[in-house]
Structure formats: structure tokens, C-alpha cells
Subunit: 236 residues, 2 copies
């Protein structure tokens, strides 16, 4: 690995937490409790499917800055209509939207981060907003040293302002900061700006039959199957 | 206390950590090791004495944004000259400046924060920069949920952008956020913006004979002699 790395910044959705499994389980339980039948996996995939397009409207200037909680809520309202789920009041919708604040970490995440934290400053660098990430960390026990949400920069990844903004706040040159992600695109953007890169594939992120991001598609500095192996490779 | 408070934000220098005692002890040890005799308490008081004036030049537009590490270093370089301490190279000066990253918490701070964290989101809101605060937390074991340095807002307290910026990032209205500080001026600024207020006097912050900030000078929502008592009053 690059010898000078002092901080690790982590993609969160998919890399640290299992958004798909968490949301499907929570929504299925909600449906059972409320007597609502729906194709919850399809709704969750559609919810996440709107993630990039909804951020792109902000990134490309079609609308002013809004936090991810707002984008998630707009998508949820639309999908509830499309899936024919009627009669949910505002408080219920707000509660469902907050499921993103309580996503479950992958089984290796907390123990691996705890090891990595001994040697490195560790922080998320996520398109989630700071409140979402802070609530998630509290709920899941993620031992971050600091929290970088997209709202600190008012830019979404892969805009350079996010990666470079995190380096500036850490007061470190990009070469001393490693981006860790399960997504080759995130790493490519970080690498282009001079950050070190760590790839931890999450082949179950998108459920059975996942075809993307199964293998490294760049010369990433470190590749590891999970956070325990990442800690080992980084000498923790 | 205000019933709706969900997050506590803390002043750091003086409220959470004993900057004066820490710096005097570290500089005296440095002096002994290097054979340098100096009036270290006077140097530390002068270092801190330049804090407000140096930030005011940024706050009032006399110079562009710079982080507190930079202000501390400029002051240190000047004081080393004034105190007749010669021959320190750049690396040594940088190391001395980093003493601000390793200040000792008051004896009640870590245990109190750990209790408060069970019920509230807790974060520093300091004029220190994020890297300083993050390093300090790692060194001292301060269990912050998130870290708000002045560089997130490119404003120093008591500018409103700091208090309101923290509330925005927490996605909470000011009335659900409590500013905790040992300084009446900090609380007055927060109160004027609608934040709740908690006063924890630190009568030894400035050493023997301290005359300021010994008692509450406003109708603060909570007054407690230390963080343990604060946790008790807030139901933790």
C-alpha cells in the first residue's frame, strides 16, 4: 500500500452497510404489521435506482442543492403511488424514509473499522447527509473519527469537491488519503484526483445475480474481500 | 431543560479540554529536554491571548479564511521571537503547534460525554479546525458522534454561520440543539439564534485568580458544575 496513507475515507451505501437487505427486511416487516402486500424487493431496487438520476439533477444544475434525505423522500412518494400503496400519512412516510438512517452494516464492517481506527483516521465520505450518517453510525456502532456527508460540500460524488474537500478538512494531501469503496467508479474518481484507493467488493450488494463491481477495474492500491482482510493488508 | 433537545454541541478549548494546563506541562517538558529556560505559563497565556484578535482579523474581513492551526503557528513564531527562544527549526515548531491537537480533557469530560452520548447526538462546535479536533478526540478518547470545526463553515464563533451551520448539518431546528460551553459569550451568541444553552463553568481554565466566566451571566437552560452533573440534569 502507499506508505504515507494517514486517513481512510469510506463509501457507505453498499461498502459499509447492506442497504438492500436492510430495507427489504424492514419494509416487509412494515407490510406485515400494516397488512400491506407489495413487491418490496422491487420497490427497494427502484428506490435505489432513482439515486444516481436524482443526484445528477443536482450535480448538473437542474435544481439547487438538496440533501439526500430529500431526494429519498421524493422518490419514495412517487414509488408508493406507482406501487399502489395508498393511505400512508406524512409521519409514516417520514419514518420509512428514515430507514436509510438505520441500515445494517455488513458483518465484517464494525470489527474491521475498529481495527483500522487504531492506525488511521477513519471517516465516511458518502452522498448521504451528515445527519443520516451520524444517526446510522450511532445505530450501527460505526466508530468513525469524523463524518463527511455530501452536505458539507454541497456536492455529490463523483464531483471532485467531495474528495478534495475531505482531504482539505483532514489537512492532508490527497496521496495521504485512501478512498475505500465497493464501486470502481468511486475509486476511479478518487484516483484521478491523487487519492490512494482500496477496493472491497460487495458481490451481494444488489442481491442475487449481481453483475457489476465484482472485480477491480483499475490498478487500485489495495484489494481485499472484506474489512478484516483490508485491516490485515494495511498492517492493523 | 428544554424538552425537545436532541443534540448537544460543545465548545472545546476550556470547556472540554484544559488547554492551559496541558500546554504548560508539555512546553515545560520540552524545555527541560532541550535545555531551554523560559516563562512557559506566560508564553501559553500570550499564545491563547492572541486567539481572539487573530480570529477577529478573519471574522472582520481583514484577511481571507485560514484555519486555526495557521493562526496558532503564526502566533507561536512571533512569541518564540519575543521570548528570545531561538534556533527551533520548522519541524520542531510544527510539532509544538500540534500540541493543540493533544490537549488533555478535564477529568470529568470523557465519562460525562460517554453518558450524554447514550441519549443525545454529541459533537464539538469549536473554532479549532476539523483535523485538530479529530486528532484531539482520537488522542483523548472523546466519543463524538460528529465533528464540527470552524473550517466546515469558514467562519469563527461567534459568527452565526457556525451555530446555524451545525444545526443545518444536524437537520435540527436550533431549539433542538443545545450549546454547552464554559463561556457566557458563546452561550449568549447561541441563545440569540434560538439554541438551548448549557453552562459548565471551568474556574481553573485560566489558572489561579481567574475572574471571568465563574458564574452564569444569562438565563441558561442548564447550569452544572461538570459533565457528570450535566448528564444527570439531562436525564442520562
Amino acid at each position: 500500500m502507499p506508505p504515507d496513507v494517514k486517513a481512510l475515507i469510506f463509501d457507505v451505501f453498499g461498502t459499509v452497510v447492506d442497504w438492500r437487505g436492510s430495507l427489504i427486511a424492514e419494509l416487509a416487516a412494515f407490510g406485515t404489521a400494516r397488512g400491506i402486500a407489495a413487491d418490496w424487493p422491487a420497490l427497494v431496487d427502484a428506490w435505489r435506482g432513482a439515486y444516481v438520476p436524482s443526484m445528477d439533477r443536482v450535480r448538473h444544475g437542474a435544481r439547487p442543492w438538496v440533501i439526500l434525505d430529500t431526494l429519498h423522500r421524493e422518490t419514495l412518494d412517487r414509488l408508493l403511488d406507482e406501487f399502489g400503496i395508498a393511505g400512508l400519512d406524512d409521519a409514516t412516510r417520514a419514518s420509512l424514509n428514515r430507514l436509510w438512517h438505520r441500515l445494517r452494516p455488513w458483518p465484517d464492517a464494525v470489527a474491521g473499522l475498529t481495527r483500522l481506527r487504531r492506525r488511521f483516521v477513519i471517516a465516511p465520505l458518502s452522498n448521504g447527509n451528515l445527519a443520516l450518517l451520524t444517526n446510522m453510525a450511532k445505530h450501527a456502532g460505526l466508530p468513525w473519527d469524523a463524518v463527511f456527508g455530501a452536505d458539507l460540500f454541497r456536492h455529490y460524488k463523483p464531483d471532485p469537491e467531495t474528495y478534495l474537500g475531505a482531504c482539505t478538512l483532514l489537512d492532508l494531501p490527497p496521496g495521504q488519503v485512501m478512498m475505500v469503496a465497493a464501486h470502481n467508479g468511486d475509486l476511479a474518481a478518487a484516483h484521478a484526483l491523487g487519492l490512494a484507493t482500496g477496493f472491497v467488493p460487495r458481490p451481494a450488494e444488489h442481491g442475487p445475480g449481481q453483475t457489476r463491481d465484482l472485480t477491480p477495474e483499475g490498478k487500485w492500491d489495495v484489494v481485499a474481500p472484506d474489512f478484516a482482510a483490508l485491516a490485515g493488508k494495511l498492517g492493523c
